[in-house]
Symmetry: D2
Subunit: 385 residues, 4 copies
């Protein structure tokens, strides 16, 4: 069965953040409705009443479900008979904790954008809150939603690569290569420690690279040595990070993330080399997975072909050759959330293979950022996580 199949019973969704001018809020809304499994019914899209109202109206929310205050929203929605079952949190990082907490404590499931929080202290609190809550918590490390990322993970898990020796993961962009225009809302908060938190590039995209590497390999990092740099004059947070990794069990790796790599659009890639085979996946060409057994020839694995595992086929909607992209992968995370929320309604077991990045994964991602900062301040000394 694949995503082709339509589902019944859309889940009532709310959103905090994602008002006019925001990018990631719009992405979440598309992802939520792509498979028809969620219906957006309430929102606190902005913190100023006028903008909140205008934004809500623009996305078709009725005035009585448009809130200017997320706490008020949580309180009221929890009491409504047809109140929201889940909320998407798409604010700047520093608000993830207070917002998510309000909903979690009322048993409303949370679908939260990454990174989990801006600081390690906040991350610990949020992970604890998620742990304590009966509600589910989903962190949108959306790249884990690509079918061929799942395929890579399945192949590693079944031993196709043998023992992993090397992991090379990169995430390069160039959109912050210059000081952004003053009205660039995306850039504004991402370069501000008060809202973004400890990490610049490390927090915004380094955590994606980290999570992807962890998701696919399952390997644990023992220690890292990081060199963070702020290339753009006046920038308070890192816009580039070079990181060396030591994994438990002896594997080694490198992680590079950058937002000043001129010419790179969204170049997330993962290469893994084991004793038996190597594997390569590139986000900008996401419908192909390259697999090379040692001494053999490279195989181009595509979505939904006979070569793929059940798990990756489950997350594709159209036959191979019909490209799927970023939004479909994002929608797959919403799909996993829908599966889990439906199962939670009835106490049913999760369908096989359903999985998602959790608050614990998010805590680990923030710990990665914190470790990078710590190492970098000590001249890139090795630090444990």
């Amino acid at each position: 069965m694949s995503r082709f199949a339509d589902r019944t019973g859309p889940i009532r969704l709310g959103m905090v953040g994602g008002g006019q001018g925001a990018m990631i809020g719009a992405v979440h809304r598309i992802a939520a409705r792509l498979d028809g499994e969620f219906t957006l019914v309430a929102g606190a899209l902005s913190s100023t009443p006028e903008k909140a109202g205008a934004s809500a109206s623009a996305v078709g929310l009725p005035p009585d479900r448009a809130y200017a205050d997320y706490a008020e929203m949580a309180k009221r929605e929890a009491r409504l008979k047809d109140g929201i079952e889940a909320v998407a949190v798409v604010t700047p990082n520093h608000l993830h904790l207070p917002v998510a907490r309000e909903f979690l404590k009322r048993g409303i499931h949370v679908i939260c954008d990454k990174p989990l929080t801006g600081t390690l202290a906040d991350a610990k609190k949020l992970a604890a809150a998620a742990e304590k809550s009966e509600a589910l918590f989903f962190l949108t490390h959306n790249y884990t939603g690509y079918p061929l990322v799942r395929e890579a993970r399945a192949r590693v898990a079944r031993g196709d690569l043998g023992d992993i020796r090397l992991v090379q993961v990169e995430y390069a962009q160039d959109w912050l290569a210059e000081a952004p225009a003053p009205d660039n809302k995306q850039a504004d908060w991402r370069t501000d420690p008060a809202r973004a938190g400890l990490g610049g590039a490390t927090g915004d995209i380094g955590t994606h690279a980290w999570n992807l590497m962890r998701f696919v390999t399952g390997l644990e990092v023992e220690a890292l040595a990081a060199e963070l740099t702020s290339f753009v004059p006046g920038r308070a947070l890192d816009d580039n990070a070079h990181v060396m990794l030591r994994f438990r069990g002896g594997a080694k790796g490198m992680l590079w993330c950058s937002q000043v790599a001129a010419g790179e659009e969204n170049a997330l890639s993962l290469r893994i080399y084991g004793t038996k085979a190597g594997i390569e996946w590139r986000q900008e060409d996401p419908n192909r997975l390259l697999v090379t057994p040692l001494g053999g020839t490279t195989e181009i694995v595509t979505r939904a072909s006979v070569a793929t595992t059940e798990g990756s086929r489950r997350l594709t909607r159209v036959p191979p050759g019909h490209p799927e992209g970023f939004l479909e992968a994002f929608a797959n995370l919403y799909g996993e959330a829908a599966e889990a929320i439906r199962a939670a309604r009835t106490g049913a077991a999760l369908p096989e293979g359903v999985t998602w990045p959790s608050a614990a994964d998010g805590l680990e991602g923030v710990a990665f950022v914190e470790a990078c900062v710590r190492s970098s301040r000590r001249n890139a000394a090795w630090v444990s996580l």
Copy 2:
């Protein structure tokens, strides 16, 4: 402005065909809801009452809007106060005419899958019906919805290529390389002249190739010489076509379509060579357009970059580097339909650049299939269109 912006006032949509097991119906449903501009509220998803009911329930339609008969649906919906404003016709080809006609004559907009019809006679009737109706008619040649296809069209139109000399268009697949399993619903009707019509590969994918070429170049074909073949034993319709083209004004071209090209998934490509530049686009790598000025270097144009025109940027949702694919392109056609339907409601002018494949384009596509068959029967003699 891009598709990022959410729209208000979802358009009430019905669907004929697309019951359980169908592929293209599910694609239409995703495309319709991706941008939140349509809401599916009624359907005659299958021609047998039980299957129609089960399919309707599976996609969340209320029982009173689930029909087993499309004529009944057209009649009743036209009378309902909140009846459907548009209908998606996703049946096998031979039903496009009777189904579409029922809705057109009641002023309900039609979004019809391609090819327009299975026969030229039907195509003429449907084009006439569309012409006569006050309702709009949209033919889902979905590949015209790719942003970089629009970009290619814009560049041709503004003269970047100079005078076009050569057009090489291909559409190769391999999914019919063997006689399909008896329960393969997709393959079943597409290889049956009674339901598919005149053309096999020519009708199913050759019309896509034809339309793409026409859409981007604007060139008119004066004559063609076609060699149709049925490679799979017992197959009644062509599964491969080699076509030579002569365009008005002196350009020449080749069109190849095949459903027996082992190893090809969905390899639609278009290459155009003019006196000043050449251009290349491949559907399996749709986020890149290669443009080479004569004597210059090849430029890789990506979506939404500074190099693209307003028209192609309008149809993208996420920044370049975040791949978009087949479903987004399909949704763009629904987006164009939404623009046109909204404008039709109020009599407002269409926003600049909004365009879509029409019934007249569809008639031309069926005329292409008919000409191929005619030429092939005369030993690939040149025939006019």
Copy 3:
């Protein structure tokens, strides 16, 4: 064993044509010396004495072995004790017959550039002369020298593709997209019927495409329908050809060659689709061969890997990952010639797998050009070969 191994006993080589300003003569000289199997010892590099002398001196020939007249050269070299054993004929097409004949009749092996001749009458005479001579005749369809072209041939021969259904071969360039500068020696004779012969693009590069297709598939063409065009005003010969092919046994194909395809450098490609697998090779990316079993995944075959056959490994000099290119492939034809000439010296059997394009192959290539012209004049009617 691969070309790594140095060989003893360089073969004494002469050259006719290839004086200063010529391109293909220089290519032949590099190819001849790359493996150290030939030594250039005599030449009639130009037809004017001064230029012949200057050119000879530039390539290090002693004055007494520099000729202004090829007939004189043939006569004298045949009498010298250390006279040439082989001659490279790199003149414009119309001279291939008279030049080659002079050497063949004296038992001197001929390595002749393609096409065999400019006219079919000449081709027949030259093929007959080669047949009659005790000397060997090698036609430099150099693309057959690529290791992965040999690999493709071997895989077709051993049945990996099953029965071939489709062959798509292309050779596109753009260097004649405009009327060439008057001093462009390469372009000058290639666009002149008196020197180039019947065909423009068909003769110059169409014959390469034809030969490659024949070499790899082994299929015989029963009939073809060709549309030749001269796009550049005032051009006497075709600069573009669209050709449909019917093969003996039922396969079908298309051949496209063009010298006016803006943006294309030297885009020769071959795609073959059989009942069991498809295969693709592109000259501009020659170190990879894509092979896809029907229903399987694409395999990227590289040179000298375990996946390759003995035959293709024989023709590579460095490990895969170290790219080989045009000159190495050209040198491989000289290598095959050297093997054959050494075997001929002693009457030894040819080493297994040694093969080369012959005069008979060249005759067939000119017959292809003639058939194209014939068909095109009859409005692209089907003609037999």
Copy 4:
């Protein structure tokens, strides 16, 4: 002018090392003769008399110029009237110093394989000997011979990239991913500290990556932090290195080299990101250079096109679209050597743009290896060079 032009007066060349079974010796011989600028006339191809004789005979050397002892060869050749003018040193690393010194002190030019030596002490001695000698010294960091590497260098030099911020250089192979067979001559000495020296992968290919990065960017490394690993059990030298780089002036970088990266053949790549543009070159696809101005579109620069600089066009032999590869690039270094040797004969100035890796460059490369080892032993601490 390009390498098309043949040259007069072949330079008399000797060779030390490169007997039967050796790979790199054969490569040097091809490179030396490809343009006809060198003639191999003497050699001490092996250290055992029988193998030296057999090897010499196999490459066509006369018995009286076949030596079993390099010192004897240097002495005698220096006295011969037509003795060698240059010698290619293609022995294992530990012999580079003693061999090269013998020839340098007799005024015979040395063309030496990389790395310069196995140890830093040796490297200093050899650099000093080269400095002192009137003869020229050429180190075959062959990747600097690729036309598009020269193009990248020229573009960096003229400021196209602005100020460089980031350099990512990699060289990944997998041929040592397992313990090599006992009779693998290539692997044998490269994994033996007594013959290879300090570095395993770092010495063998890390020095190539280092040199390429230095050659193209011109940036000086201030400090590095390196993590060397020997993954294959029992291996005495590193087979993988992860290195972080700090450049003078503030740029940062990463260098990764590996001989255990399963699936990688010879994946050397260089990416440079500046304030104005980014650039990417991959050795396995060497005929394309990707250049992206910040905010612009990626340009695919090919060899010899109008976009290239004079310097890169000088080093190409055939038009773009006709792939050149590893051997041509290697031959370009021999070509530069020939230019320099010819100029040295007459005291003429070097033609513009002629350049090559020197003994000083080689010393720096060995210093890089030594620094890597030093850093790695100190837990990847930063060390100066």
